[in-house]
Symmetry: C2
Subunit: 418 residues, 2 copies
Amino acid sequence: MSGAPSTDPAGHAAVAERDAVGPAFDRLWAALEPVGTDPTGGYRRLAYAPPELELRAWFAAEARARSLDVHEDRAGNLWAWWGDPTAGDALVTGSHLDSVRRGGAFDGPLGVVSGLLAVDVLRARGVVPSRPVAVAAFADEEGARFGVACAGSRLLTGQLDPAHALALTDDDGVTYAAALRASGRDPADLGPDAEVVPSIGTYVELHVEQGRALDGLGAAVGVASAIRAHGRWRFDLAGRPDHAGTTRLEDRDDPMLAHARTILAAREAATAHGGLATVGRVQIEPNGVNAIPARVRTWLDARADEEASVRAIVADVAAAAGVGPVEESWTPRTDLDAALRDRLAARLGGAPVLATGAGHDAGILALAGIPTAMLFVRNPTGVSHAPEEHAGRDDCLTGVVALADVLADLLDDAAGVR
Amino acid sequence: MSGAPSTDPAGHAAVAERDAVGPAFDRLWAALEPVGTDPTGGYRRLAYAPPELELRAWFAAEARARSLDVHEDRAGNLWAWWGDPTAGDALVTGSHLDSVRRGGAFDGPLGVVSGLLAVDVLRARGVVPSRPVAVAAFADEEGARFGVACAGSRLLTGQLDPAHALALTDDDGVTYAAALRASGRDPADLGPDAEVVPSIGTYVELHVEQGRALDGLGAAVGVASAIRAHGRWRFDLAGRPDHAGTTRLEDRDDPMLAHARTILAAREAATAHGGLATVGRVQIEPNGVNAIPARVRTWLDARADEEASVRAIVADVAAAAGVGPVEESWTPRTDLDAALRDRLAARLGGAPVLATGAGHDAGILALAGIPTAMLFVRNPTGVSHAPEEHAGRDDCLTGVVALADVLADLLDDAAGVR
């Protein structure tokens, strides 16, 4: 495509295309806006809970309205196919619909909406795909309900054992299996999908940036280079439940003390080993003001450029916790496809290339050997996983056109390349 | 009643009466057993949530089956009247039906069940009450849902401002007002009840012991002397929500660090000031593994023999938290009615007299100037607010007969005094 005209997002063709897609973007975004608002602010769209199921239905309806064939794989991920899924070497874009608790509006849905709209743009350009195209909505990317991030893409690619996943529980003691059943799914079906994985030729995920790098560079869109090594560990701190008002200090076995030491150790270890460590999630039983807890579950999120640093952080925190960590997820440092990355950056007129500390389904697919790339859309607040997470409308539309551009380029379809 | 025969619980009359009340006890207990089981063990019967509403309906039905007149006061407490409520100087017994999360079966319901059965025993003895008798089921004693213990008795006696109560929220952001509305009550009605309070002449609450003192003394039943000074404080620790994987340590404002310091300070302060201090309840927003929290609410329960010690503990913890405490409840040291205490202990053949560190509606009524006493039933595990909380069937039946004995004594009815 070296002979293609420039697609500088500021160019006239891009501006016209952006304006054209605006009303459809507004319509899709307005449909998402009321779904799954969190009483404490932002959104709470947990996997297989009613708001997330409503978003799945919305996705399927939007896909069908575009005459895309909707399919749910054995891992719970949704696929909207433009062309024959069995033809192989599919070009896939998408993201996820679930959110963390009190999450932002953009993390996930922006990539799904952009994928659907990019199909519209390509069709408006008259593109006839040389290979199948799909928009995917991956299940349970955040892991906010059951604790394992990217559960849908991990299950799909065999990186998460279905038996392990089915036994995971949410805060109310509901298992993954029970949540699947409650939503009309058969837990026995959960697992890798032998038909889907080999059919994926390339995956490009668009995502709101989770930092302020693009804002600092004055760029609306960037391209990802790598995902840092990261994982989640759970410390199960057991104590003896008792009445806070009647049990002498010397008779107590209070797991909150180890919990407190775990939090402080996480910060110290991150500083010592040059990584990030966070305790953001805690589960206390019974969680009563006047009840010495029976158990405290304290989760650790740790990340660093290299695996050795992450492992050193976890070891330090485990020493403070006094119990061994349960590894709930682990993702090694993942370098996204270099050739693809360079092609996208060039196609977007020299877009900035950024590493990220956040995990994504794109990283899971890359680990499964699928050539994978990511586009980031500028987030002026830099905030992520919180209601303040934001992307401007113009930047979102620029992202849609940029996604359409790189898909057209990868389809090698001259009609798609302005 | 100095001329009355001994009511030593091991005596023949008591044994026969205990055996006679056994089947009714078993039937009432069996009805309670399946209601509001907690998925993590024990019971979760939170105020105005479905299981607690089911228990209220059960109480009303059992009261009506005994031809007692059921009335709900403006604070949400239930009253089952034997005799004319307007006659004044009522003799009231009872307890509460709600539980903490993952609570035991006995804390609360044992007193309500024993109250109903004591009425049966008195009637079987042919007692004709010289003044009205009531069995009360106080609302929201544990405060496990909205954070304020003894909310029903505090509201009733004007020790809790209804406007303050209505604005309290549970973990899902549901206000006390909304919970009342959802259960068919009008929040505007909430408040002190000018008809009920002056009508109470004496209150005797039977409760499972929350320690092992009676077990050590080999006694099935004891009498309370005082309730230690105690309260609940909330520390609202604010931070800036951000993504755990993308926010540099130096850019973070993570409230979990202050939370951890608060927990450790509570234990140190309790040791230093000779009291008890516990962090048993925490609320984290958004509580996601990969989310630096926006806010952590950390609750402190602190108790001691004297107010000054409790205040010193709270001041130390506040210094560690870095924010001022919000006092959610406060109960000064409460000496129960000394004459009543001595009369009950004597009536029960010299039952042991114990102080307690746990708060009770009895303490709230005592603060309101009502002569109040408490009976404790032996708890061989000593565990409270946990599934292991226990009282043996024989001890429960002994408690029922003991309660009937002291009620008969207080009714000054010769027929009631064997």
